[in-house]
Symmetry: none
Subunit: 216 residues, 2 copies
DNA sequence: TATTCTATCTATAAGAG
DNA sequence: TCTCTTATAGATAGAAT
């Protein structure tokens, strides 16, 4: 836009490139602000020079804007935090955590109160997907944990049984017993109770209390 | 930069503002790219229109750039989590919920990956409850939003109908029509399509296109 | 709304300090 | 590296479509 027309490709001459960077950077920042003001838009602009220096503009809070961006963009927060498998260990980790914290913070503040009213339908949709994904992961982990605990308990019981106690259920019956996932999330005690409930009737009081103590 | 010089402040006329937004947005995106190419810089640009629509440019991966930004900017995660904006309401709210937010933050970062394995069953249970609550709030807000949009559209349609158009569905039928929540989050147009789908058959082309245009 | 058409206004490439 | 100057390329306000 000046004396001569130039092609849009990396400027070879280093000095010229730096000069151009300085000029155009200013222009870009200015125009970013103008757009935000004139059109009531939210604008975030981040520029890193080739030497790594940072320049930025944000019409409001950069954090807010980036958080909002996260909601709109591929809500793959996980995918985002994963890809840096190869390089900078500490660095990428820090930035990842920072990002995570920010994201979560924003999400939390949104799901906490009525901030939700400020969100668009699309944003709500993304939040929903996000929360659902998290919830599913939690549920899955919980179920696995419970299944493991139950397995452990069964093992312990079988050990006891093999030590001479007279079982009210055989080993085979225990293995085939169906555990109701609805009754999870409690202590070992309640799980044990659950196992007992698979029997046809309640155990005699003496043995029951005895076993419960050992399992608790 | 044209017929007349304008002052850099919010354009009052809505139409003019939108037109300007469209033009300047393009210009800004173009210049962002030019700067990146010419000067070998890393540039990230995020623009939200006043209506919440997202436009973006990133010279490389937006994720990488934002991560890089996090490192350079206030490396301070604490300062970041405090961005309680500018309102007293928010602030008091923030301090009141401060601890809880921090806790949830930790929990949420845990539900991201396999960190869940470090949690006890009880902790998982808490997480589950938390997420369920948030999810419910999001869903409720979304449903309300959708219901509102639908109501608006119905009102518009009824207005059209009352202006003499011969309806294929009566007002009562419209009110009783069941809207499928799966099809939300889109423009008025798609919702209108949805409403039409509640009819026994597709509307004649002439009227359909006519109404669609007026609703869009 | 988004484009197209101009007349103008801005940004900026070169060059000099 | 930044600034100022100046000529020119580029962006865009307003109007029309």
């Amino acid at each position: 836009m000046a004396r001569e027309k130039i092609k849009i490709r990396k400027i070879d001459n280093i000095t010229a490139r730096q000069v151009t960077f300085s000029k155009r950077r200013r222009g870009l920042l200015k125009k970013a602000e103008e757009l935000a003001v004139l059109c009531d838009a939210d604008v975030a602009l981040v520029i890193f020079s080739a030497t790594g220096k940072l320049f930025e503009y944000a019409s409001s809070s950069m954090q807010e804007l980036l958080g909002k961006y996260k909601l709109h963009s591929t809500n793959n927060v996980d995918k985002v935090s994963e890809p840096s498998l190869n390089l900078q260990l500490v660095e990428s980790d820090e930035s990842r955590m920072g990002k995570e914290v920010l994201d979560r913070n924003r999400e939390l503040s949104q799901l906490r109160g009525e901030d939700l009213n400020g969100l668009t339908l699309d944003e709500l949709q993304r939040l929903e997907t996000l929360l659902e994904g998290g919830l599913n992961r939690v549920l899955q982990t919980k179920d696995e944990r419970i299944a493991n605990e139950i397995a452990n308990l069964q093992q312990k019981m079988m050990n006891l049984i093999s030590k001479g106690k007279r079982p009210r259920t055989t080993a085979v019956e225990l293995e085939n017993s169906v555990i109701n996932p609805e009754d999870q999330g409690q202590s070992s005690e309640s799980v044990a109770t659950n196992v007992y409930s698979c029997n046809s009737g309640p155990p005699p009081e003496d043995d029951c209390s005895d076993t419960s103590l050992k399992l608790a």
